[in-house]
């Protein structure tokens, strides 16, 4: 013990200098080469800040594409999921409530067309994406709310589909913020 305690102390101090200090500074220095300097990517349209590129926003207005439900109401300073188990009766009732409310706002949509991502909460509560089907089922509502031709909105969704990586790996999805920014610019 005695012959170990001093080396252990000194080694720990040196590790603090090296891994809390130098390593952090190296990564911090690398961050300075980025346009946002590692502070976070902000989306700016016509000089106006619209939000964070990676972080999903709450959209509940009929004229916008809705984001997924969030257990933390899109609070990016306290993110989290619902942690509801798949068999929890209260949870299942909540999902049923979301389905019913979706159908009220989207009277042209049949129940079997609603994809589950639109009525379940994401893991982070900040999911920036919805599934492709999740975007398409909202098209009619948005076209009506904005007085746009349905085809026009459909085309817009198609343009904003993010393909899987190299078209081969992963999921196909639609970034809600980008799509809604574009939607606001569409006449």
């Amino acid at each position: 013990m005695k012959q170990n305690i001093l080396p252990a102390l000194r080694l720990t101090i040196f590790c603090m200098i090296f891994f809390m200090g130098i390593y952090t500074l190296v990564v911090l220095a690398a961050a300075q080469t980025l346009p946002d300097k590692g502070k976070g990517k902000v989306v700016i349209v016509n000089g106006q800040e619209k939000g964070w590129e990676l972080i999903g926003q709450k959209f509940t207005d009929d004229k916008y594409f809705w984001s997924r439900p969030s257990a933390v109401d899109y609070n990016a300073a306290g993110a989290g999921g619902s942690n509801k188990g798949p068999s929890n009766p209260d949870y299942l009732q909540q999902v049923q409530g979301r389905i019913d409310s979706f159908l009220v706002h989207n009277p042209d949509v049949k129940k079997e067309e609603i994809p589950s991502d639109l009525v379940t909460a994401s893991g982070s509560g900040l999911d920036p994406d919805i599934s492709v089907q999740g975007a398409y089922v909202q098209v009619k509502r948005i076209a009506k709310a904005r007085n746009l031709p349905v085809e026009r909105v459909q085309e817009l969704v198609k343009r904003y589909i993010t393909k899987p990586l190299l078209s081969m790996f992963g999921t196909e999805r639609v970034n809600v913020l980008q799509l809604n920014i574009e939607l606001d610019g569409t006449k």
């Binding site: 090296f18 990564v27 800040e49 300073a77 942690n83 509801k84 909460a121 990586l165 992963g170």
Partner: protein
């Protein structure tokens, strides 16, 4: 082929392809053979040794190695308690987060020095940036301590008779500087370029398109995320870990982060092959681990992609699969793959919420932690596997009527006793903990109503999962559990402490005792340990121990939930 399935095959293939050369490199690092990065690292390591007063040439026996390991961990424990209980007043606290209470600081300290990274706090509100950097320090050094213990066992397994098993401090420093540090820098910079923040600013805020003002937590995340993935740590910067879009921005970052989980655990197996010059033995170990991993992976991926049957009954579509607690950018296949990789190794980071997994997937995740040796944590994964090898050698020796020998060393009663104790410790800690908490809950459910986020069998699974994760030094959780209470903080802390150090002490002791014994050259009568028959034997031992220990508990939790939902 389905692009989601193709994605997870790609992640595994990339990991395995990189792990083989990395394993050879790690073998060289521990053997002290020349590698090209020596030019940079030799001077750095010399500064480490000189500053710490370590004689790098002096070899230690197994007891001295263990004393070195335990002493340095004691220093870390004290350091961490001091910082976590005072960080509210210390510098680098831009967001003004509070210091931890004693029980939470105890839990967090044990959690991080034991390489568990169970988090009963949330990163955004529970720690200052100094706290985060301290925890990041432990992510390096606790991983390196496990790897160093593993290196001691590797050295002991060589064909010779000796007391001297290399220098623990040297293995430790080399694991830090030559393996974890360079890989972390590469991964951290990569994540930066995908969008993970790295700064010391306080919360940002923006006004959303619907006019809400939203605050955004940020900080030095990229540096921490890299090492938490690589060192099988798993302690995330943000509360939801790698499900958080800033911690894991897109599918590409997910490939890299998920690959990092398995990279060093697989590489350690090939490092063993290099150190012992027994490639076939390493392939046997790798084969058994991979079979176990795939057997857990398949049900998880199918179940998650199939969707939640209770939601199917509501008549909506589940084109992706079960989506509660998952992110659209990863999808159910990559989420299930992550869930299994993170639980078979002792990583414990998550990219989806495990509490919302469908029953059989959550059972696969729990089984991964209950076995805790399919790849396993960096260093300690092989130590757990080593215990199963010892038991398998002993049983096969008895079955065919030969003296049980492992790599030329006779296994006798003393080693077998240690192995049996270690093999039984893990089920004991898990089941005793779960039994105690269930008893408390059952007898006074009103007082403990805050514990469970879900009723019935799933609620039981939340408690079972918490102790399984603690005892496996995993750190993931069914996060619905209201676990920041003195009961959970202290009981899980004790479980983590015992489950970290005893399973290191046991294998190192066995290996040290075996190393002292006379080396018996291989003969026609030797039980071959590098063939698939022996591999099957090891697998059978693992499966039987897991099934006998855990089947009853799993029946009450995920299995009952599964049948209840059909």
């Amino acid at each position: 082929m389905n692009t989601e399935i193709a994605g997870i095959i790609l992640i595994y293939a990339l990991t395995a392809v990189l792990a083989i050369p990395l394993g050879r490199y790690i073998g060289k690092v521990y053997e002290g053979h020349r590698t090209w990065p020596d030019l940079i690292f030799d001077p750095i390591d010399r500064i480490f040794y000189r500053f710490s007063g370590i004689d790098a040439k002096k070899e230690l026996d197994w007891k001295q190695s263990l004393f070195a390991l335990l002493t340095i961990n004691l220093v870390w424990f004290i350091l961490s308690m001091i910082i976590l209980m005072n960080m509210g007043k210390l510098p680098l606290n831009t967001d003004g987060n509070p210091s931890m209470t004693a029980d939470l600081a105890f839990n967090t300290t044990v959690s991080f020095i034991s390489n568990t990274n169970l988090q009963h706090y949330s990163g955004e509100t529970g720690v200052s940036y100094l706290g985060q950097l301290t925890l990041m320090l432990f992510q390096f050094i606790s991983a390196a301590a496990g790897m160093a213990a593993c290196a001691v066992v590797f050295t002991a397994m060589k064909e010779r008779t000796t007391e001297k098993l290399g220098n623990f401090y040297v293995y430790f420093v080399r694991s830090c500087t030559r393996i974890l540090l360079p890989l972390s820098i590469v991964v951290a910079v990569f994540l930066l370029f995908r969008g993970t923040p790295m700064n010391f600013e306080g919360k940002a805020h923006y006004v959303s398109m619907q006019g809400d003002t939203v605050q955004v937590s940020r900080g030095p995340a990229a540096a921490m995320v890299a090492i938490k993935q690589l060192g099988t740590n798993g302690g995330g910067f943000f509360g939801p870990n790698s499900a958080h879009p800033l911690e894991n921005p897109d599918y590409l970052s997910n490939i890299v982060e998920n690959g990092c989980i398995l990279l060093i655990p697989i590489a350690m197996v090939f490092a063993l092959g290099y150190v012992l010059k027994r490639k076939r033995f390493a392939w046997m170990v790798f084969g058994v681990m991979t079979v176990g991993f795939v057997l857990l992976l398949l049900p998880a991926v199918t179940q998650e992609m199939h969707g939640n049957p209770a939601i199917t009954k509501m008549g909506i579509a589940q084109p992706m699969g079960s989506m509660e607690g998952k992110e659209v950018r990863f999808g159910p296949a990559a989420s299930a793959y992550w869930a299994i990789t993170t639980t078979v190794t002792s990583n414990g980071s998550v990219n989806s919420m495990h509490d919302s997994l469908t029953p059989l997937s959550s059972m696969a995740a729990m089984l991964g932690m209950m076995v805790n040796a399919f790849y396993g944590g960096v260093g300690v994964g092989f130590l757990n596997f080593y215990i199963f090898i010892i038991i398998a050698v002993f049983i096969s020796g008895l079955m065919v009527g030969r003296t049980p020998e492992l790599l030329g060393k006779k296994i006798e009663a003393k080693e077998m006793k240690i192995a049996a104790i270690i093999a039984l410790l893990h089920p004991l800690l898990i089941l005793a903990g779960t039994a105690l908490s269930s008893w408390l809950y059952a007898h006074n459910s009103a007082a403990y109503a805050g514990w469970l986020n879900n009723p019935g069998h799933h609620g039981f699974s939340e408690m079972l999962y918490e102790y399984t994760s603690s005892s496996a030094n995993n750190g993931s959780g069914f996060e619905g559990l209201g676990d920041n209470t003195p009961f959970w903080n202290i009981s899980c802390g004790i479980v983590m402490l015992l489950a970290r150090f005893l399973p290191i002490i046991g294998p190192v002791a066995i290996a040290g005792i075996l190393a002292r014994k006379k080396y018996i050259p291989e003969s026609a009568g030797t039980l071959k340990t590098d063939i698939s028959t022996f591999g099957m034997m090891v697998f059978a031992v693992i499966a039987i121990v897991a099934a006998l220990s855990f089947f009853p508990a799993l029946t009450l939790g995920p299995i009952a939930e599964y049948f209840g939902m059909r």
